[in-house]
Structure formats: structure tokens, C-alpha cells
């Protein structure tokens, strides 16, 4: 009977079934992105060198690189960068620590959930930078209000991603642990925490960019040093090469943080 499949009747020719499963699976090529970036920078540089663009509005990449080099040599880069990094570091750590604790409480306790979600829903939508003047009144004009603004911004996003992560831990794993009489604290440590970790790390990506946004905004409002203050100053003096140097440094910082979180994900979530 199988032979019939290859038989053709005299008046019918065979034709191939048309392939229609193509597309919708975009694969990113490894070098494509870099080549495109290099191409854009090359065109930008060529336009600058040929004086097609006014360097006051858009300095050429080479001018920006020179500005970064000079900033590094004069020591100004470290002064501004270290001021920003300190604010981000302390603010992010404080906000993350509080956010993780509150997020777990909301995820695990009925009381914390009913109280916590109400407060978070009410306070989360406030742009935290709007609180800076109030925080300056409360905490003075030093580092504290800037750090507090960052910590607040980071806190809410962290708390939300942590309790969503705790909610997403498969209930069957918790039931399994309960069926072996595993105590509450061990269930939290060995089941809930690792189960929530993917959401927690995804939250870190968001809070890192929130922290960067807030540090720059806060420094633009009131700071002598810091990348935000530096960018604003350069803008006021129409030093666009310096301004863009600051922007490039922010971009590199954002990329570096993304890489660190990516590395953490590979290390901690290898089981996925």
C-alpha cells in the first residue's frame, strides 16, 4: 500500500507543498548591532569633520572623546562620578533593603498585605523627585535629601517586584514543603526566596535605572558635584562637548550596571 504514495496517475503531475512557516523568529546576529553603531558614529564623525553640523549644537564623537579624556586627566571626572556613585550606591542599597523586607512582608502576611498595598498604591505614582524640596526641608541641604529621594524611588519599585515575585512562587512547592512539616522560616529561606529571586533580579534592573534617573535629577536641582550637576553646568556654559561627555558616561554606567545584573542572573538563576 505504501507504494501508492509514489504513484501518480497519468493525468496528474505532482507539485511540492509550498513552505509557509517562515518568519516570526528573529534571531539577533552577534555583530550586527556593533556594526550599526560603528556606522552611525562614523557618519556622525564625518559630518562633524566636514563641518556639515555646527559643533556648538552637536560636537563630533572625537570632540566628546577628547572632552572625556581631559575630564579624566584633570580629575574632575572622578570628582563628579564619585559623588554620583556614592549617592546612587547608598540610596539604592537603603531602598533595596527596605523594599525587600516590605515586599516579603506583603507577600507573606495578611496584615502587612492589606496595609502595605494600600500605602504603596497611594504613594508609588508620585514622581519621587517632587519630594526633593520637602526632603531638603526635613533633612537639610547636604547629601541626605538626594540619597533619600533615590532610596524612596528604589524602595517602591523593589517592594512591588518582590511581593509580585513572592506571589508568583508556585503554591505547589509551598504545599510540598508543608507536607514534610518544614518550618515557616525554612520555607521562606529555601522555597520562597529562591522562587522569588527571578522577579527580584528583574526588579533590580528597573531600580538601577530609577536610581540613575533620580540621581541626575536631584543633582540638577541642587548639587555642586555629580554627573547631573556637571551636565547642567556644561549646558549653561554651552559646552556641548562636555555635556555629551557627561551623557556618554551615564550611558556607560547604565550599561555596566545592566551587565552586572545580567552576570548575577546567569550565576544565580542557572537552574532556569
Amino acid at each position: 500500500m505504501l507504494d501508492r504514495a509514489t504513484e501518480t496517475s497519468a493525468d496528474e503531475t505532482t507539485r511540492r507543498v509550498r513552505f509557509r512557516g517562515a518568519g516570526f523568529v528573529p534571531a539577533s546576529s552577534r555583530f550586527g548591532g556593533w556594526i550599526a553603531l560603528a556606522l552611525v558614529i562614523a557618519i556622525w564623525q564625518a559630518a562633524g569633520s566636514a563641518r556639515l553640523v555646527n559643533p556648538l549644537f552637536l560636537p563630533a564623537p572625537s570632540a566628546i572623546v577628547r572632552a572625556i579624556y581631559e575630564l579624566a586627566m584633570s580629575g574632575a571626572l572622578w570628582q563628579h562620578l564619585s559623588a554620583s556613585l556614592l549617592r546612587i550606591g547608598v540610596g539604592w542599597l537603603l531602598g533595596t533593603a527596605a523594599g525587600v523586607v516590605v515586599g516579603f512582608a506583603i507577600g507573606l502576611s495578611r496584615l502587612a498585605r492589606s496595609v502595605g498595598i494600600t500605602f504603596i498604591s497611594a504613594l508609588f505614582p508620585i514622581p519621587k523627585i517632587a519630594l526633593l524640596p520637602l526632603l531638603i526641608l526635613w533633612l537639610g541641604i547636604g547629601e541626605e535629601p538626594k540619597i533619600a529621594t533615590i532610596a524612596l524611588g528604589v524602595f517602591f519599585s523593589t517592594a512591588i517586584s518582590v511581593y509580585s515575585g513572592v506571589d508568583a512562587v508556585p503554591r505547589n512547592l509551598i504545599r510540598m514543603a508543608q507536607s514534610f512539616n518544614v518550618p515557616f522560616a525554612t520555607i521562606v529561606r529555601k522555597v520562597v526566596w529562591p522562587g522569588a529571586l527571578p522577579a527580584v533580579l528583574a526588579g533590580f534592573r528597573i531600580t538601577a535605572s530609577v536610581a540613575l534617573l533620580l540621581v541626575v535629577s536631584a543633582e540638577m536641582i541642587g548639587a555642586q558635584f555629580g554627573i547631573g550637576a556637571f551636565v547642567l553646568q556644561a549646558g549653561n556654559l554651552m559646552q556641548t562637548d562636555q555635556l555629551l561627555a557627561g551623557v556618554v558616561i551615564l550611558s556607560v554606567f547604565g550599561l555596566a550596571v545592566g551587565k552586572v545584573i545580567g552576570w548575577l542572573e546567569v550565576r544565580l538563576l542557572h537552574w532556569r
Partner: protein, 257 residues
Amino acid sequence: MDLIANHISHHFGDLAVLDDVSFTVGAGEVVAIVGPSGCGKSTLLSILGGLLLPTSGSPELRGAPPADSLNPLTFVFQDFALLPWATVEENVEFPLLHTQLSATQRRALVEDALRRTGLTDFRKTYPKQLSGGMRQRVGISRALAVKPAILLMDEPLSALDSQTRELLMEDFVRLLADGGMGAVYVTHNLEEAARLADRIVVLSRRPGRIREVVAVPMTRTERGDIAAREQLLALQNQIWSLIRNEAIDAEREVQHA
């Protein structure tokens, strides 16, 4: 140690799921619970294992569990419930971590449980690397590690393909033969029930009531023989005739819901 279902009824809101279910699982006895889908089989098992509070009635234990039992009532779950971030041996060790056992004692128990389920060579692998059948073996291995008196098995084979199911069923026969371990085996598969159980509790459609308790008149070893096949098939048919009409009704109900 006996496990007793003492007049257990349960409601989910207005929905009555179980109605006055009573039976006893004697020491070392394997009792299967079968019934049309939605008859409350899994709910009953959760209640028996203390994971769900019944609306009325209670699950009870009579007599002392074996002295070395670390968790007399131990579940084997349909979806395996393995920690995906833990290796096979970490999963098996998980229920031992909070006990008073020393690391050496824990290792010995894990070792023995892995050996009995043929997982020794897979100790360092992660659940995602294993087939469904091997994952369930990890679930069984974890259950064996705590030396249960009664295994509470919630459709342990229903997520597996038929060949794997056949192989694991052979494992169950072997495990239940050598340990003096009892089991409550919830299944919708009558072949599994007839192959493994000493008695089969047949539940009616929702709300689940006991329709009949059928004794299987052979030892588990005898049931493996070709000669016994006909007798087992007759038994399956007998049970199927009890639940067939209700299974049809139950299916229609689900479709209308």
C-alpha cells in the same frame, strides 16, 4: 499505624465536594481511590494528609508510626513539586534539612533513597534536565527518604506518557512490596488501581460519596503474571460499569460550566 477517614465532608463555598466519606487504611495496606473527574478524590487526599481542613469530619491516625519514620504521612504529587533550583540530591535531602539528623545521617538516607529509585547517577542533575518519569522518581525518592508509614499519592502517573507509566508502575509494585509501607493512591486510571491496590474505594460523582469498596483478590506479585490479566480486566470492567454513567454526566457538567 492506620489512617482513618472519619465522616469527612467538604464544601468549597456553595459547592459540596465530599459527603460523609469514611474508610480505614490499615498498616501496610494500599487503598486506591477512583471516581469520575471532579468527585473530590484529590481534595480527599489533601484532607487526609492535613493540607486542607475539612468542613466536617476529620482525618485520624490510630497506633504509633514506625520508630524511624520522619514523616508518617508523605505525599507524592502529580506535578512532582520539585524545587527547580535544587539538584536531585538536594531535592531528596530537602525534607531532612529541618530534622535533628546529622549531615552524615542525612547523607545515608539520601543515598539509600536514590539507590532504591535508580537515581544515584543523576544526583547532580537539575529537574529541568530530567524526563517526566525521572522527575517523578525524584519525587518518590524524596518521599522514601523520610521513611513514610503511608504514602499519599495524588495521580502520580497522570502527567506521564503510557510507557513511562508502565515502568513506574513496576517500580511502585516493588517499593510497596518490600517496605511494609501503606499507600492511598488517588487515580482516574482503573488499570493502575487494579494493579496496585489491595482495596479500591469507588467514589460517586460530586459530591463524592463512597459507592462501593472493591477488594482485589490477588497479591501484587501475582497480578504481574499474564494469567492474572483477564481477572484484572474483569475487575476494571466491574468498576468502570459502576462509574461510567456518572463519568459521562460529570464530563457534560464540566463542558457546561
